[in-house]
Symmetry: C2
Subunit: 446 residues, 2 copies
């Protein structure tokens, strides 16, 4: 890793060159670099925490002035219980994942002595733009090295001292490894994001990790592909055929488990036949956490006799709002089809849920809803790379190409085709007289 004050263009060019070396290193060489990073960080614990304390002091002063939020201050703090240990363990976890580089995913014999192979390889140069959390830098450096990608990191200014301390250690560790130093670069100069976003020749993929506003800004200001999601406007459809207690449990978890998360529930679409049979049970469950319900007239009427609820009249914009808080918009529908249309029209294509006792209806919903995740009688909160068993998560994507849903290491890979021959030429093959035919024989992958 280098701490660069180079121009963004020079940093990107250096990262591209480094990526070409990194992409050819063996798994062992990349894993050794991860070990070196882990050892370096372990040894430098006190220095890094001291740097983090300086960031924290400045942030706390800013929070006292009201110019910084308390939640950001909390995210900054590397000395919080378990955070340092989690950061270090994360590096070893990434090291121990299956190697994503060089996997053969297709092998075809075109003719005797002429074989085609599709092999996974790194994408190239990643630009990771993130906000305050200082542990992200170690996490991303590990993912980049493991996947054979170079990375340019641009973090939020509140963590500058922490970032520089960690980057210095990583840089020294990489210097003892086969990974080129410029493969991981921390850009500390300010206001360079627009310049970085213009470097589509050398940067292959942008991964924003932060607020919806950050993601939306980036998506609107670059030609480089962006992996991520701006919105997580998740909806549930409630069918009368489902058990009311089951539905209440799933909705409670989806809404209240972590309301600020992108996979939290924001809209509940209730079948009219479930208004009196199911909705009161659900609303009562949500009331325990004080969830505010913004209802259309029908659902509000259905809840009029239920005690202890916070009921408001919904306005149209409530159905397109990602509340990220203990608020749920409720709307009555007359069929699963109407729910599907609502979700495909107003949703964010992130994660949507059906609560139903009918397999056919569930399959219809999961087929027709155009979202990265479709859940049947299970919480939307399961949508997460770790929970899905991917070992790690780069982010959750609502893109329609490349990677969708929780993205693990696989999302940082592309492939190339290798053809090994013995002098064969294309004009020898075809349907004409005297021409050879292709075999197109599928070969085992290993």
């Amino acid at each position: 890793m280098s701490l660069t004050n180079a121009s963004p263009a020079d940093a990107a060019k250096a990262a591209k060159s480094a990526s070409l070396v990194l992409s050819t290193l063996s798994a062992a060489a990349r894993n050794e670099a991860l070990d070196a990073i882990h050892a370096g960080l372990t040894a430098a614990r006190d220095d890094i925490l001291a740097a983090n304390a300086r960031d924290l002091a400045l942030a706390q002063a800013a929070a006292a002035d009201g110019t910084l939020s308390q939640s950001l201050v909390a995210r900054l703090d590397l000395s919080r219980k378990g955070k340092w240990e989690d950061m270090l363990k994360g590096i070893l976890d990434v090291r121990d994942l299956d190697d994503p580089v060089g996997r053969v995913t297709l092998r075809t014999r075109l003719d005797d002595g002429l074989d085609l192979e599709r092999v996974t390889c790194p994408i190239g140069v990643l630009l990771i733009i993130f906000e305050a959390r200082p542990e992200v830098i170690a996490n991303i450096a590990a993912l980049a090295v493991k996947s054979g990608n170079a990375a340019i990191l641009k973090g939020g200014k509140e963590s500058t001292e922490s970032f520089v301390a960690i980057a210095t250690v990583i840089s020294a560790a990489l210097a003892r490894s086969a990974v080129p130093n410029a493969a991981i670069q921390l850009v500390t100069t300010r206001d360079v994001i627009p310049q970085l976003l213009a470097l589509d020749h050398d940067i292959d993929l942008v991964i924003p990790r932060g607020s919806n506003d950050l993601v939306r800004y980036i998506k609107n200001n670059t030609r480089i592909p962006v992996l991520g999601h701006a919105d997580g406007l998740c909806a549930a459809y409630l069918d009368p055929s489902v058990d009311a207690t089951l539905a209440a449990g799933v909705i409670f978890d989806s809404k209240t488990g972590y309301p600020a998360a992108c996979n939290s529930l924001e809209t509940l679409l209730v079948h009219e036949a479930a208004l009196s049979t199911h909705l009161p049970t659900i609303a009562t469950a949500l009331a325990v956490k004080g969830v505010e319900l913004r209802c259309d007239p029908q659902s509000k009427a259905a809840l009029s006799d239920t005690p202890n609820l916070t009921l408001l009249d919904a306005v149209e914009s409530d159905y397109t709002t990602e509340f990220l808080s203990l608020t749920l918009a409720i709307k009555t529908v007359s069929s699963v089809s109407e729910a599907i249309t609502h979700i495909n029209t107003f949703g964010s294509h992130h994660t949507d849920l059906i609560l139903t006792g009918s397999t056919d209806q569930a399959e219809q919903f999961m087929s027709a809803v155009d979202s990265a995740g479709v859940m049947w009688n299970a919480s939307t909160r399961f949508v997460d790379g770790t929970r899905y068993g991917f070992g790690t998560e780069v982010g959750i994507s609502t893109n329609k190409i490349h990677s969708r849903g929780p993205v693990g290491l696989e999302g940082l890979m592309i492939y190339k085709y290798k053809v090994r021959g013995r002098g064969q030429v294309a004009t020898s093959y075809g349907e004409g007289e005297g021409q050879k035919r292709y075999l197109h024989e599928k070969l085992a992958l290993d």
Copy 2:
């Protein structure tokens, strides 16, 4: 298919709605639509060829004026031997490909009764922008229907009558099928490309089929992902360890098989030790077709005694020029590493070739060259979806995400994650006391 004079925005919105229906149709329903298109076109042969003849007459007049190229006129002509039959056979070929929709590519048991599945599904709405060739419209309609994607087609104006005639037939055929009419739309209004390229909310992928200029224009003018390549600047590295006759055969085919193709050879990098031993044999082979050689001083000197060559002095720009003609730029290098660096710096990441007798060197080259296709002792001209055995080809991509190299139906697909549960909630799982652990058990794919 509808022949739309709707605004681009309305056309895209209608395509999006139609795509949501199309994506849920069974393989049988999609294949039936392809049969109906095939039958409709077969029955309407005379009308379509008459319309094509009218386009052709106008084009021939324009060619006589010098305002249109003769090669474009040739590409327009549907009555050329075999072209009509190929177009019809292509529809049945696409029908008979394996269904790309609904393939399960990952299945994980998160817990008993809580299963995760990754299932392929269509991307959504494709915008296909192409030039004169009228048969492309039938080909693309077939690919879109087969893959469950809606498509908006914008063709070159020279083929308007042919397009309209074919679109009318396809429209009538789709009306007898389960595929919504708006799933395939031909936009015939003029100058709408900039408007279409702005519709990133409803259009998910742009596929330009045409000249490099067209592709470059599109890549520079849209936020929608573009699948394709602007340049095919393919290079070969010639090592002295390879058999000279083998090398001459492969280079001859790569350069002269179809010089206007994107997978044709443009640059030859010769190891200095092969200048006297190999280059004269190769140059003599190329001279049969009159290939013009643009040489650096060393390679020119090496060829000074070889008769019948067309030798020119290379200028720097020759090594970054896609000639698309019988011209080859030759440069001397002192190692395979220098060749790799040249290719990664000046190439187009499309297809590159190594001619060597050394397995180690070949593997080094194929690992380090950052291109969609890397060939060892086999012609660059093999890079093609049909030759690779993909059944069809949407185009060749130099993108670093999603699809790279020749793109078959697979490149028109994305996936979604389906989770089927029985009321499980995320807060029940974790490392804490009393919490359940995830199983993360890999299940068989079928």
